[in-house]
């Protein structure tokens, strides 16, 4: 009997020692606790901007916002785990525009109707409002916008002896993809005729991503999803899409567009002078500068259009949005903060630190465009040519399947086979969501 007692004590004390020895609680912030005012928690990769805005907010309202940082690629997965278990760990939810629909479908977000006036909502760019509205309800307020812009390497062009009067191009009168391709051909012929230096014509920043590649098809008149959101058949295998796909594939084969360069390396190639042109986003301006390029090295212009489709040009839009967790215990406070961060002073702070395109027309101030002149173009595009991505709860499946398809096209796959498989995959995913309706 004594032995039994001793060994039980040993076992239990071992357990106790282990647990107490591991208790790092003293070190870590308590979730949801507050001394006086309330505390909101947020997970984001824009931690610098949010921290700054949070400081100001606390001064003004006494509400504390704890900002937790994680890498951009981890946010989606982490939030999925946290929200699917109904945890109230975060009050504020960062939703990448197109994901809003999926989050709402899974019951993760709280409607924001009570925290925004109609006037405030009306000020957001229409495409951004669309991205954050599901079933007529407003769920995720946009933090900013994005826009696609064409950049060119001045050094390489002058080395190749090519002179272009870029000032002639405006929003209404753009360079065409066909003209651009010609320029690229000439340049590469001069700069790297035998291909040994690895210099090529045009790069796409977010290559093989739905965000940019779909725009090629959109610019030919193609849509992203059927009007009722139930299928992509007849949409992505339409003639417009096939034209765009064939055009792109041909140029990859010719070597004008790159093959095998991942979206991780495309920007580096521009900074290192490996490609003459790169189709990137408005905030790429700031990245070029931080990669030690100056305005003597590079320039920019409006995204090209397709000859014969000048009035159908589609540019990218949409960016991260902020919403309130359906499981939050501080919804009222959270909603007010969302308003602060997207309509109020918080947004100004955010934009000045992160350099994102603004979410309303008024915010394209002289100060902002002074810091990033590319925003002039972004403003025009947001008002005139922005084309929103498919709004569907199955966006992740949609995006994964299409991404794969674009990459396969890039690698030379047969267009019809790839389209058939992709349509099947996406429709099967879409079908499951409509079943639960």
């Amino acid at each position: 009997m004594r032995k039994k007692v001793i060994c039980m004590l040993a076992g239990v004390s071992l357990l106790a020692v282990t647990v107490s020895g591991c208790d790092g609680k003293g070190d870590t912030p308590d979730s949801g606790s507050s001394e006086g005012g309330k505390t909101l928690k947020l997970l984001t990769h824009y931690d610098a901007a949010f921290a700054e805005a949070a400081k100001k907010y606390e001064e003004e309202t006494g509400v504390k916002v704890e900002v937790e940082q994680t890498a951009y690629e981890n946010i989606g997965d982490t939030l999925e785990v946290v929200l699917s278990s109904g945890s109230d760990e975060y009050d504020l939810i960062m939703a990448d525009g197109p994901n809003t629909s999926a989050y709402v479908n899974r019951g993760y977000l709280e409607p924001l109707a009570g925290y925004f006036t109609e006037e405030e909502k009306g000020e957001f760019s229409p495409e951004l409002l669309k991205q954050g509205t599901v079933g007529g309800e407003f769920y995720a307020a946009p933090l900013g916008d994005s826009s696609t812009v064409l950049y060119y390497n001045k050094n390489l062009l002058s080395e190749a002896g090519i002179e272009v009067d870029w000032s002639q191009y405006t929003g209404e009168n753009r360079i065409t993809w066909e003209e651009l391709t010609e320029l690229a051909r000439e340049a590469v012929k001069e700069l790297d005729p035998d291909g040994s230096k690895g210099i090529y014509g045009i790069e796409i920043g977010q290559v093989s991503s739905v965000y940019q590649m779909n725009l090629l098809a959109n610019s030919m008149g193609g849509k992203n999803i059927s009007d009722d959101g139930s299928t992509v058949k007849g949409v992505i295998d339409s003639d417009e899409w096939k034209d765009a796909i064939a055009w792109y594939q041909g140029l990859v084969e010719e070597g004008i567009f790159s093959k095998g360069v991942s979206g991780l390396e495309t920007y580096n190639n521009f900074y290192a002078g490996k490609c003459v042109f790169e189709w990137m986003t408005a905030d790429s301006y700031t990245f070029c500068l931080s990669a030690d390029m100056t305005e003597d090295d590079f320039g920019w212009t409006y995204q090209p259009c397709f000859a014969g489709h000048e009035d159908e040009v589609a540019t990218g839009c949409g960016n991260w949005a902020l919403g309130v967790s359906a499981f939050s215990k501080n919804k009222e406070e959270a909603g007010k903060f969302v308003n602060y961060m997207t309509c109020g002073e918080g947004n100004d702070i955010f934009l000045s630190i992160e350099g994102m395109s603004p979410n309303t027309a008024e915010r394209y101030t002289e100060e902002l465009t002074g810091k990033n002149p590319v925003l002039e173009i972004a403003k025009y595009e947001a008002e005139n040519t922005a084309y929103v991505r498919a709004v569907t709860p199955a966006f992740n499946e949609y995006s994964a399947a299409l991404s794969t398809m674009w990459e396969d096209i890039r690698n030379g796959a047969d267009m019809d086979t790839a389209l058939e498989r992709t349509v099947e995959q996406i429709d099967s995913a879409l079908g499951e969501y409509s079943e639960s309706q």
Partner: protein, 282 residues
């Protein structure tokens, strides 16, 4: 025992083979090591055509390391990881050695089934249980604490297995002599078995260290706050939305690889010994 295959290959042949395998093993490590001492632009500019400088930097610089430690607080994450491991190793060894002691020296009902249960944990994919595990740990209030990182890691089927194998080598005579002298299980355990287990303890410790040092998914989900974030999660910070800091990744990877290496090299003698005497043999 070692075997000399002089008649098949000759010493020179053996060294040649050793060198070739070494090159293959180490090159994917040396390349990032060298690349961590140059800027990203220099790296990409010199990729093609292939020359000496594709691998070796032209301008050696510490700037990647400086940025990684200053801007990104890498030192803090190193410390966090080491603290976490320092808590896991003794905990795991303690409970697994006790359990192995039970399996090796006692007969009891359900012994086979319980042992099989422990071995089963081997085959459980971390990703499959991540979601329910998160819910569980969250309901215990242990997210973003060291406890949340340490407790799930203590049940280690492989360590238990190693200990059981090792203990099975212990001569029964020694234990019987303890009994004759009137000692209990604790005496057997602490006076005889444990001291003999030094090699296997070191082996288990090294294995646990390497596994936890490189563990990625669970720390990502359970330990996001600065105070507990670990190295593997921190490395992902260098991949921003629009730009990847390759130099920083390589610097972090190099530091991250060097630490287990420096631990392993001096202790590898025990490691082999541990696996040999306790390991799976013919």
């Amino acid at each position: 025992m070692k075997r000399v295959e002089k008649n098949l290959l000759g010493k020179a042949g053996i060294y040649l083979l050793l060198a070739i395998v070494l090159l293959i093993s180490l090159f994917p490590i040396i390349y990032p090591l060298l690349s961590s001492f140059r800027t990203d632009n220099e790296l990409f500019e010199n990729m093609a055509p292939f020359n000496w400088h594709t691998i070796v930097p032209i301008h050696w610089t510490w700037e990647n390391y400086i940025a990684v430690f200053q801007e990104y607080e890498f030192g803090r994450y190193l410390k966090n990881t080491l603290v976490m491991i320092a808590l896991i190793i003794p905990g795991t060894i303690a409970i697994c050695s006790l359990a192995a002691f039970a399996f090796s020296f006692y007969d009891f009902k359900m012994k086979k089934q319980l042992f099989a249960l422990f071995l089963l944990t081997f085959m459980i994919p971390g990703e499959a249980i991540a979601l329910p595990l998160y819910s569980l740990v969250n309901s215990m209030g242990l997210i973003n604490t060291y406890a949340g990182l340490v407790l799930p890691a203590l049940a280690n089927g492989l360590v238990l297995f190693l200990f059981v194998q090792f203990f099975s080598e212990t001569p029964k005579a020694l234990l019987e002599s303890v009994e004759i002298d009137g000692g209990g299980w604790w005496t057997s355990f602490s006076r005889i078995v444990l001291p003999l287990s030094k090699p296997i303890i070191i082996t288990a410790g090294l294995m646990i260290f390497v596994n936890q040092w490189n563990d990625y998914l669970w720390p990502l989900l359970a330990a996001r706050a600065r105070e507990v974030k670990v190295v593997t999660v921190a490395v992902a910070n260098f991949k921003e939305q629009n730009v990847i800091h390759w130099g920083y990744i390589y610097a972090a990877a190099t530091v991250s690889a060097i630490i287990p290496i420096f631990l392993f090299l001096p202790l590898q003698k025990y490691f082999v010994q541990g696996i040999t005497s306790g390991g799976v043999k013919g």
